[in-house]
Symmetry: C2
């Protein structure tokens, strides 16, 4: 039937993302991926070790893409502008691919080399944007966590339809950004 379908690990991940984007994260299965690849399910095991591995690779891919998005958004800006750019870029990614939100929430092990590398890149982008505020090393970490938590929480709730009231979501996100950046500036001033 399929004399060499030209598959490889990256192609499997790409198909997995297609399934997730079109049918939702819960719908991901090896059967679905195989169908799109035009291949029988067991054939996938020549490229990945199983469904769990696909999930892990998808998580890493998404994390890497988000990192790339926020990194380029912050280019050429600094201080509050840079932070606002990072937050917008993160939200923009999740709005474009709402079903990938769960990949950003997934528990990942830092023992995993590739995971650690992707995470590190994301953190570095944030650190660069925060440099202008003059925080200590520890405080930079705390602030980065706060920003990540806030934007992750907002986007994952938004992607999941978790906000029920009719008020404008853009305005809500603007409020969140304003609160965070205000808080940031105040902390920076206090820290001397």
């Amino acid at each position: 039937m399929s004399p060499r379908a030209g598959l490889n690990q990256d192609a499997v991940v790409a198909l997995a993302l297609a399934v997730i984007d079109e049918e939702g994260a819960d719908a991901l299965s090896l059967a679905k991926i195989a169908e799109r690849a035009g291949v029988a399910p067991p054939s996938l095991y020549k490229h990945v070790t199983g469904l769990a591995a696909v999930r892990r690779l998808v998580d890493i891919r998404v994390l890497t893409e988000v990192t790339e998005a926020i990194r380029s958004a912050a280019l050429g800006h600094s201080g509050a502008d840079a932070i606002a750019g990072l937050l917008d870029a993160y939200r923009g990614y999740v709005r474009r691919y709402p079903n990938r939100a769960s990949a950003l929430a997934a528990p990942l092990s830092f023992a995993d080399e590739d995971v650690a590398k992707a995470m590190h890149g994301t953190a570095e982008a944030a650190f660069a944007g925060l440099r202008a505020f003059g925080f200590s090393r520890d405080q930079t970490v705390h602030v980065t966590r706060a920003l990540r938590a806030a934007v992750h929480g907002f986007t994952s709730l938004e992607a999941g339809g978790g906000f029920g009231l009719p008020q404008d979501l853009d305005a809500s996100f603007a409020t969140l950004k304003a609160m965070l950046i205000q808080g940031l500036s105040t902390l920076a001033r206090e820290e001397t």
Copy 2:
């Protein structure tokens, strides 16, 4: 074998929570619940319509419990104190039951009567805490969303081990609270 095991819908939900707490949210299955109930899996269908229904009921139960926790935490406080109390109570719940974090992230339909009711209760608790700030109705909604997003994001990342660096998580959460409350006060001042 089991002449009436005294099961009912609430008991099934309780057992489901036990599975989630002890084995993780992904480990939830009708088979596991049935085992704990001392009953064959199909018997559960006398009480719930399937696994999806169990998940929905679990989500509602968790949401209700969190609402109760934050509501009682805010009692007798107002303004910044009330907000800090809400945030701490939310985080406290998730720290006590880390595997339930995913239930708070789950996409829920507001068309669902019970879901809407639980959500409404949570929002009301936040609105009450914010009253002292004197926001407009719309601004109250935006601020509430920002607070929920932030605390949800922090706790879900924390529960999933999503923070890799060694810095103290309590300090990070304190930073987040400080940023939010600072932002809140500033917004309130601006709004006149």
